[in-house]
Symmetry: C2
Subunit: 187 residues, 2 copies
Amino acid sequence: MDFKSYLKELAHFSEEEIVYILSQFQEEKISKNQIILREGKTCKKLYFLQKGLGRSFYINEQGKEITQWFFGDGKFMTSFESLIQEKPSFYFIEVLEDSIVYSISKQKIDLLFEKYHKMERLGRMATTEMLSKVVTKLNAIQFQKAKDRYKYMLAEYPNIANRVPLGHIASYLGMTQETLSRIRKQK
Amino acid sequence: MDFKSYLKELAHFSEEEIVYILSQFQEEKISKNQIILREGKTCKKLYFLQKGLGRSFYINEQGKEITQWFFGDGKFMTSFESLIQEKPSFYFIEVLEDSIVYSISKQKIDLLFEKYHKMERLGRMATTEMLSKVVTKLNAIQFQKAKDRYKYMLAEYPNIANRVPLGHIASYLGMTQETLSRIRKQK
DNA sequence: CGTTAGTTTGAGAGGACTCAAAGTCTGTGG
DNA sequence: CCACAGACTTTGAGTCCTCTCAAACTAACG
């Protein structure tokens, strides 16, 4: 879903409002492998991922990258807590494929929240959806064996599973690369 | 924090607005062990837990109860997805101690969201906070050994750890009772 | 093509699980 | 106020899944 339809269908903004809102966003092309947010920096922008793929990850005590989330087409990409609560991000955000995004600064989005009650609602709904997805992942991770977690991944993100390095998925699912490799073979 | 202070300090409602908002809620006493939402039922109410303790849980394939979340004093208690998206709940909600709550119907809360832009923001903020907590838990569960998960629990919910049966906590942390019992001993 | 990133395979170790049984606590009725 | 039943917790033994470490293999890219 492109951003305009998103605003129209999910938040019922009028044509006029949409024009204004879009004018606050900026289209950007971001190329593969770029890191758009680093750990410790406060996230200043919200991105709507028009096309492409990204992920957030952190570095654990052993110095390994742990994928926290994948962001696909038609989704918002940011470090939510860092952006909203204006505190240093625990995560990196990395673009995994050449992407097109609409970006907006924290400042401008706050103005939109201020100006449009509907925007506030859209924010609430988007956050609720995110919450719901994180809870689903938590349930999958918490009690399932490695094989079932991979099934969850295939079910929830069918089009991502084959686009990114196996190691990124393994850490996303809370297992080692080796384990994921073995699972993938047997299935 | 009591509900009135919550509304005043976090959402900056005026005295007058607070009076109206509170009039929409209903004070209820709920006694220990009561189940206020069952799996498969659509959640109709949002509860502000003035005093007491609750949990949400689900029944897994082996018929075991898995604690999904604990709700403590001064927090909202509900099945968020079920309430907001008006779909059957995957979870049960159980009150673990005699509690005092302020409850409001889905219908009324929607009217409050409609009436007050600030209420919508409060909802967004509360959801963001919840999201942040779930993400923290996910990180704790995903890569930590049982012992460290228990430490996370003690750090995040110091006053809950000793108020509920060990089995509830074990399932919350993604381990068996036996494992938690052994961990508790060694620490 | 050579170099590096990514994936697969193997062997051994260890944490957490399951199943089973013994203790311990708690609340209710006599 | 005690005794008992049921709920909850602890302990033990054996098993299995996933991890770690190591090395070989394969794919991608300049």
